[in-house]
Amino acid sequence: MLRHLLDMRALDADTITTVLDTAEAFGDLAARPIKKVPTLRGRTVCNLFFEDSTRTRVSFEIAAKRLSADVLNFSAKGSSVSKGESLKDTALTLQAMGVDAIVVRHHASGAARQLTRWVDAKVLNAGDGGHQHPTQALLDLFTIRQHFGRLEGLHVAVVGDVLHSRVARSVVQGLQTMSAGVTLVGPPTLLPMSADAWDAEISHDLDPVLGKADVVYLLRVQRERMREQFIPSIREYARLWGLDRRRLGELADHAVIMHPGPMNRGVELTADVADAPNTLIAQQVTNGVAVRMSCLYLMLGGEQREQPAAGDGRSDLSAVARR
């Protein structure tokens, strides 16, 4: 059903629902003594990571292994990439080795889509620059649906560094596709110029939003991506946009707190709020495995790899790999 998973905008409500429903069945596997099924036996999944990541890579690795796929981990550090190999040549090398799926994280927006032009393998975007992180959005939608039993009509406040956040782009699009309401909250410097076009409410003040939110979704302050002075100081950010005990008290009784991780305790939220009973942060991590299993299961079955037409401009290397 899915050829590649690049961008949440490409997924309609039916597709998202199928991914989430399938993930529910995979969630049961974690409770079994043998947490593995033979479905992807003989398939090879490559984790191609050009940026540091622990939870996403490990989550994909566990997901693929529980489906009995073989997993290759390829990180830019300590690989031929650090010797100057381009994304294209790396991709063609993997292609020549016959991988069935490539999970790619890259610092450049659009890297995952570019990869699909070079390889026959299914491509799953695990984060491309400031663009998209669709499996994060899907696991967040899954976690919200699991908690509330629905997505439609819920109101989600997405707080913080929207500008640098691929997670925000994916999550907001996914929520809107599933008919949930979104308010973007943050200082003007950390909201994208185009935020008006996001079809979301915008608030530069956190407090008035708290009472009406079903979910408060805190974004990580991405200091590593900030090349200018976007906020006066981390302390001021924490005071104005951080979730502390007082603000926790302003939330509706049923409201929950989410964070895509890794979180900066004392910045986006205080340490005691991070451990409050109404956070779903641990469930998000748990659900990540089931959702990624769902994506791999839905993408890797069916017709064996398509044979591209001759003369499509692919290198000889990839043609050899297909024989």
Binding site: M1, E24, R32, I34, V37, P38, G42, Y297, E303, Q304
Partner: protein, 193 residues
């Protein structure tokens, strides 16, 4: 599974031949419940696992009949075998349903329940799915209809009705819980799954 889910064009599709009506299905299930209790001298250590989708209501009916016959409660669960099928690479992903073991399969006699036994591939997948949950003492197979054409060395222990069919025919089982009516019909459909 198999041919049971072939074309769903409706009951009156031309050439359909009803081979079991509601009463016949009721009697067949009741007889199988008797046979299960007879063979095991009661229901101790038995676990009924209905294979999605129409094995699930059949397993519940067997449990209900067993309860009426001997006032015993047989634990009854649901089994989805999609992740264990051997045609994932050819057919692709199928929708997943919930697998639920009401008790640990370890040491139990697991009776797999399905509507139609055809190639045997679903039963093979189901055996693997059960064994992944623990090592059962034994696995048996109960089916409402055995239509023949096995592709694997598998046979049923309890059969509601042996139904000789041609390969190009399709056996359609309808059960009230899913389809609003109880009936088994042979249809001259061409599709084989």
């Amino acid at each position: 599974m198999s041919s049971a889910r072939a074309p769903v064009s409706g009951a009156q599709s031309s050439g359909a031949r009803v081979v079991l009506d509601a009463d016949a299905i009721r009697r067949a299930v009741l007889r199988m419940a008797h046979q299960i209790l007879e063979r095991h001298a009661g229901a101790a250590g038995l676990l009924l696992m209905g294979i999605h989708s129409r094995g699930v209501p059949l397993a519940r009916r067997l449990a209900r009949d067993a309860a009426e016959i001997e006032q015993v409660e047989v634990p009854t669960g649901t089994l989805d075998v999609a992740l264990y099928r051997d045609d994932y690479a050819q057919i692709g992903p199928r929708p997943l349903a919930r697998t639920h073991f009401p008790v640990d399969a370890q040491g139990m006699t697991v009776i797999l329940v399905d509507d139609v036994l055809f190639t045997g591939r679903t039963a093979r997948a189901a055996m693997e799915a059960v064994i992944d949950q623990g090592r059962p003492a034994a696995i048996e197979l109960a089916v409402l209809v055995d239509r023949g054409h096995r592709e694997l060395p598998i046979r049923a222990d309890y059969v509601g009705k042996n139904l000789p069919t041609a390969l190009h025919e399709s056996v359609r089982v309808r059960l009230a819980e899913h389809d609003g009516v109880d009936a088994v019909a042979i249809e001259p459909a061409r599709r084989r799954s």
